[in-house]
């Protein structure tokens, strides 16, 4: 199978797939027609083709796979497809809760509230509603509190390939010295 055929198959899969296309899933789709190239290479070829032909979309590596996304410049038109004015931004409370869960997962509601110093029910609910967090099992031990984790949608939402790609949590000293600089 030549590269042309492979790019066509991958393109068809990207168009049809409701979630990011992973290497594993790609292999499964190929079945007995073993691909002669890794998915990564076929994607690179396809990406170059999209650039050459000035397509309105590109391929993004996200949540461990590849997915088609529209280019940023079309946002102004795409917004009209959705009833709410574009995508709703998360509140500061929700972002804090999400930050805690993403760096500390799995965590209980108590863990989150201990760090934020404030009840976090409503942010948790918002994040569950938007499928950015999910409930995943229970803590060991007597309380058996529910555990929260980030979802695959979280990775997509922030355009991350995996939780390892999260920006590194800064050390206190660095943050404080930045504050100092700001004051001067």
């Amino acid at each position: 199978m030549d590269i042309k055929e492979l790019t066509q198959i991958v393109e068809a899969l990207l168009i049809a797939s409701p979630e990011p296309l992973t290497e594993t899933r790609f292999k499964a789709c190929m079945g007995d027609d073993k691909a002669t190239l890794p998915l990564q290479d076929i994607i690179a070829e396809l990406q170059a083709e999209y650039e050459r032909s000035e397509r309105a979309f590109l391929i993004k590596e996200v949540a461990g796979g590849f997915q088609l996304v529209t280019k940023a410049e079309f946002e102004v038109y795409i917004k009209g497809l959705f009833t709410k004015a574009g995508k709703l931004r998360l509140s500061q409370a929700a972002l804090e809760t999400l930050a805690i869960v993403s760096y500390r997962q799995p965590v209980t509601r108590n863990d989150i509230e201990a760090i934020r110093g404030v009840s976090s029910d409503s942010s948790l609910r918002t994040l569950l509603d938007r499928k950015l967090l999910e409930i995943r099992g229970r803590e060991e031990g007597p309380g058996r509190a529910l555990l929260y984790r980030t979802s695959p949608e979280f990775l997509q939402y922030f355009g991350l390939n995996s939780v390892q790609d999260l920006p590194k949590l800064k050390e206190v000293e660095d943050i404080l010295s930045e504050d100092q600089r700001e004051l001067i």
Binding site: L14, V69, T70, E73, L98, I115, V118, R136
Partner: protein, 243 residues
């Protein structure tokens, strides 16, 4: 400061820790050596407002006020000079909480920036996800445990106690369908599930037949083969067939 200014300020804070960080920054205080009396005084002025405004997190602010007053009281206790024990600064725990919270608050603002940067990109999601969609109703995109909770909660709200002794009228029974299938398998070595379905008009009969298959499968009167998901089921006689 007017009350109005306070109100605006207070709603900007995510909670008591956020307010404390604000006071520390505003007054250029050293987080490792917080002047507890001063900060307690400032903090209490805000807490009064929190109560007045019936702020959603007023309880959390009041709790922090109590903590600050406790620390203040402990700071006033004389330190015994001859004590061998290393005396812990009563502010240590609060300081650690503030530092920890500050890290995540910082991370939250990074997340906010990434969100902003990702916003203009829209992911492609196919309009129809599966050609073999078995249901005419729209499919929910990704079901989480949370959706199951919400749904059950919702159903319970709308649930009225059932009328006792209501009898469901069935056009066909499970036993009838088991007999029917046995008959067919007696005559044919194997059957396609799809060809069975073509004979039935009512969804109920189809389901009962399906349940009959499951029942016969369980009692090993029948075997089912399927080459892959969504493929046709092929039924044949099981080890206990006819028993």
């Amino acid at each position: 400061m007017t009350l109005k200014a306070h109100r605006i300020d207070l709603e900007m804070f995510e909670g008591p820790l956020d307010l404390l960080l604000f006071l520390i920054k505003r007054d250029e205080l050293n987080i490792y050596d917080i002047p507890i009396a001063q900060i307690t005084k400032d903090f209490l002025r805000y807490v009064d407002l929190a109560k007045e405004l019936k702020l959603h997190s007023a309880g959390d602010f009041i709790l922090m006020a109590a903590t600050l007053m406790k620390i203040k009281a402990r700071m006033l206790l004389p330190v015994e000079a001859d004590s061998d024990d290393e005396i812990e600064d009563p502010r240590t725990e609060l300081m650690n909480m503030l530092l920890e919270y500050k890290r995540y608050k910082e991370a939250a603002s990074v997340f906010g920036n990434i969100e902003q940067q990702e916003r203009p990109h829209y992911y492609h999601i196919p309009v129809t996800w599966n050609p073999q969609q078995e249901d005419q109703t729209a499919l929910l995109e990704d079901v989480k445990l949370y959706d199951i909770m919400l749904t059950f909660q919702y159903l319970l709200k709308n649930y009225e106690e059932p009328v006792m002794h209501s009898v469901a009228v069935e056009e066909v029974t499970l036993t009838e369908q088991v007999d029917f299938l046995s008959g067919l398998l007696q005559a044919n070595k194997s059957l396609r599930f799809s060809s069975l379905l073509e004979q039935f008009e009512s969804r109920l009969i189809i389901v009962v037949t399906f349940l009959a298959i499951l029942e016969m499968l369980r009692s090993q009167q029948l075997r089912v083969k399927q080459t892959e998901l969504f493929d046709d089921l092929i039924l044949s006689r099981g080890t206990e067939f006819g028993h």
